[in-house]
């Protein structure tokens, strides 16, 4: 059902609401863009100009090439690569183990089933900041400090994804399962051929969210890695934000932030194209 199809007197309403939404939600993002084109002084004077300034090219060049005053930080490109790989691994990892766990919990009966689900689910209830010291000890005992595995594996157990899949799997009509059984298809074939394609929109949504989650990781990489070569882009940005009395070069921070947002933007756009298109083809 879309309003642009036929002569709907209310056709303008969704667009109006959406524009309002975009204005409110995306305003800070717009400000980031504007700030990335100003000088540091212009940002400090109140109020900050709303229209883009003229420093855009200079700022982005500085952020990409020199980035840091003394070139002691890793280049933006390598930090973005680290973030990218980490985010991708975490995303794929999380989606994979969550979807099979949810599958097990919903489509089977076995002793300890609900207990397993609650055990997984409870992990949402304890904030990471609190268990961070014991978790660090465990990772250290396993010799995973300063390693790529230590960076990603502890973050892969996601209760959110499992819960989402569980919700979705509960809505699958019984007829599908019965049909599969009649056809002699086992649970694995059912999973590959029927369930997975049906889960497409959920996987796409999760992909976006989890990728951004992995992309924005700050506290955990901070603790686990000491090698500068493993710095992520968010860590790089945080390093530029001075506290105390040191001056922050806000225009560079904003420019780097915009650069840091580009891969997630790409992910969002791609996910929409691939998966929504697929949905139009395969009607339920």
């Amino acid at each position: 059902m879309n309003s642009d199809d036929y002569r709907d007197p209310w056709a303008w309403l969704p667009h109006a609401v959406l524009w309002l939404g975009v204005a409110v939600i995306a305003f800070p993002l717009y400000l980031t863009l504007v700030a990335s084109t100003l000088t540091a002084q212009e940002i400090a004077q109140a109020p900050m100009p709303i229209l883009p300034g003229s420093q855009g090219l200079a700022n982005y060049q500085a952020a990409l090439q020199t980035g840091s005053t003394f070139r002691m930080s890793p280049p933006v490109s390598s930090m973005m690569w680290n973030s990218f790989v980490m985010a991708l691994v975490i995303t794929f990892g999380k989606i994979t183990i969550s979807i099979i766990s949810a599958y097990a919990v919903v489509f089977f009966r076995f002793p300890g089933r609900m207990a397993a689900f609650w055990l997984i689910f409870i992990t949402l209830m304890l904030p990471v900041e609190v268990r961070i010291i014991p978790t660090y000890e465990v990772v250290s005992d396993l010799g995973m400090i300063n390693s790529f595995a230590g960076l990603t594996v502890p973050l892969i157990a996601s209760a959110t994804a499992t819960l989402l899949f569980r919700q979705f799997f509960l809505t699958i009509p019984d007829e599908y399962v019965e049909a599969a059984k009649i056809d002699g298809a086992g649970p694995l074939r059912f999973f590959w051929d029927i369930l997975l394609p049906l889960s497409r929109t959920n996987i796409a949504a999760l992909f976006v969210i989890l990728f951004i989650y992995g992309w924005n990781q700050y506290l955990w990489p901070l603790l686990i890695t000491t090698d500068q070569n493993m710095d992520t882009i968010v860590l790089g940005i945080k390093k530029m934000i001075g506290t105390g009395d040191s001056q922050t070069e806000w225009h560079l921070v904003m420019a780097t932030t915009v650069l840091a947002i580009l891969p997630p933007v790409l992910v969002v756009v791609l996910m929409q194209k691939w998966f929504v298109k697929g949905l139009v083809e395969t009607e339920k």
């Binding site: 010291i133 250290s140 400090i145 901070l222 000491t226 493993m230 934000i241 040191s246």
Partner: protein
């Protein structure tokens, strides 16, 4: 359908490829034959960069050791990281800890090795007298040894907006030096409506409680302000502190004082021209110089003339951070020697001078200060000498050497909360300080209980 399965299979294959590639791409550089020394720091921006640069210069100057600098977050996160690493048996060799956290660092028996001892182990000379007196005093033990090495040092000063002063009819070349003068100037600014607010301050507890205490040689507690050992008591609820807070409360009513937050946020009020006077850390000069669109001046932190003799206030105390050395079960004497050599490098005059000139922190050693004086740095850069002069030439007294209480960060926040309540009109200054004393003492007692060995 088939193509979809194919795509999924392909995705799984590419996942594994990405994983392997990723592991290779982001695996840390292999260690070299040199002994590695780990240093964790909390500096960001240009300052952090500069420290890293010194590290690589030190590495290039000799072949035995390699110091690796890591940014571990702002000081609280960094401290949590150090705690986690220590408990896991592998703390860094060196950690930079900010001033207020000093008390917590000394709590755990055996976790820290005093810097003086590190040098002794390394058979190298370490002379506390090299450091400017307030810095030396802050990190000293009762027997004269030093716990940690001061590196980035700042103190509190006053900035004022010359344009606003002129507009209010005040003498822009003669900044107020006492609190009554500041109050008068601020009120004049408001009366003439030269700006929306008279004065504001950053770092509320650091400036209004700690610096205020040092400036008038008032103790924060007993046992040499906690430096002599555990079991100290606080003494915050005195007339001096009450008057300071009450002054703020009274002035908030007509915005001759306008509160701007607990940490650095209020600086923006000054830079944007909203407030005419700012109490701030000396390190804030850089941002002001860069971003302010008006003429500004620097003055010493004001004092109450009725609390010091003959218009000679005491020195203020330092802020910033120092470098601490961790103990670890498998540390060798060789590693400690590396630490000592690195420290020697950092406190050498060329490095200290370069550091102070570039970052806006103060020279932490007497030699560096003298070197900057000799080359005329302060005449070429007016305003940069105010904090140093205030620290070095100010009267030294038993209470200008800083303090060392456990959980001081929390106690500062208690002060913040109580003063905020007073500013909101919910209580008066006496109650605010009474509560601060009560709650602060409870925290200190709990800290001592926690650290009973």
């Amino acid at each position: 359908m088939l193509s979809k399965r194919g795509t999924l299979k392909k995705s799984f294959l590419s996942l594994s490829a990405v994983f392997l590639l990723g592991s290779a791409a982001v695996s840390p550089a292999t260690a070299q034959q040199r002994t590695e020394i780990q240093m964790w720091m909390g500096l960001t921006g240009q300052a952090g960069e500069l420290l890293t640069k010194y590290t690589s210069e030190f590495n290039a100057s000799q072949t035995e050791y390699r110091v690796v600098t890591s940014f571990k977050g702002q000081y609280p996160e960094q401290r949590a990281a150090a705690v986690a690493a220590y408990r896991a048996g592998a703390p860094p060799h060196i950690m930079q800890m900010f001033d207020a956290g000093s008390g917590d660092m000394t709590a755990a028996k055996g976790a820290i090795i005093p810097v003086s001892e590190v040098f002794k182990k390394a058979n190298l000379q370490f002379n506390p007298a090299d450091f400017i007196p307030p810095a030396r005093a802050y990190y000293s033990l009762p027997n004269g040894d030093m716990l940690s090495m001061p590196f980035n040092v700042s103190t509190a000063v006053m900035f004022y907006n010359k344009d606003i002063f002129k507009k209010a009819g005040l003498d822009a070349e003669k900044p107020p030096t006492t609190w009554p003068e500041v109050i008068k100037a601020a009120k004049t600014i408001r009366e003439k409506n030269a700006s929306a607010c008279g004065f504001t301050t950053t770092w509320l507890a650091w400036i209004m409680l700690e610096q205020h205490g040092a400036r008038h040689n008032i103790a924060l507690g007993d046992k040499n302000n906690g430096k002599d050992g555990s079991g100290a008591s606080l003494d915050l609820n005195n007339k001096a502190n009450q008057r300071m807070v009450q002054t703020l409360v009274d002035m908030q009513k007509d915005k001759s004082f306008d509160y701007g937050g607990r940490s650095n946020d209020a600086a923006a009020k000054f830079i944007s021209g909203e407030c005419g006077i700012l109490m701030q850390s000396s390190g804030g000069l850089g941002a002001i110089a860069r971003d302010a669109k008006f003429q500004f001046g620097v003055g010493q932190l004001p004092y109450w003339p009725d609390m010091v003799t003959a218009g000679k206030p005491y020195a203020t105390t330092i802020g910033g951070a120092s470098l601490w050395v961790f103990n670890a079960p498998n540390r060798t004497a060789n590693e400690y020697r590396g630490v000592a050599q690195f420290f020697n490098y950092l406190k050498s005059t060329p490095v200290m001078t370069d550091w102070a000139k570039a970052t806006g922190f103060l020279p932490a050693t007497n030699a560096a200060f003298k070197s900057m004086q000799d080359e005329g740095f302060f005449t070429k850069n007016p305003g940069r000498d105010v904090p140093v002069v205030q620290l070095i030439n100010g009267r030294q007294g038993p209470n200008t050497g800083g303090y060392r209480f456990g959980r001081w960060v929390e106690i500062r926040d208690v002060y913040h909360e109580e003063v905020e309540k007073a500013l909101q009109g919910k209580q008066n200054a006496a109650e605010a300080l009474h509560n601060t004393q009560r709650r602060g003492t409870a925290l200190l007692r709990a800290f001592d209980a926690q650290n009973r060995s």
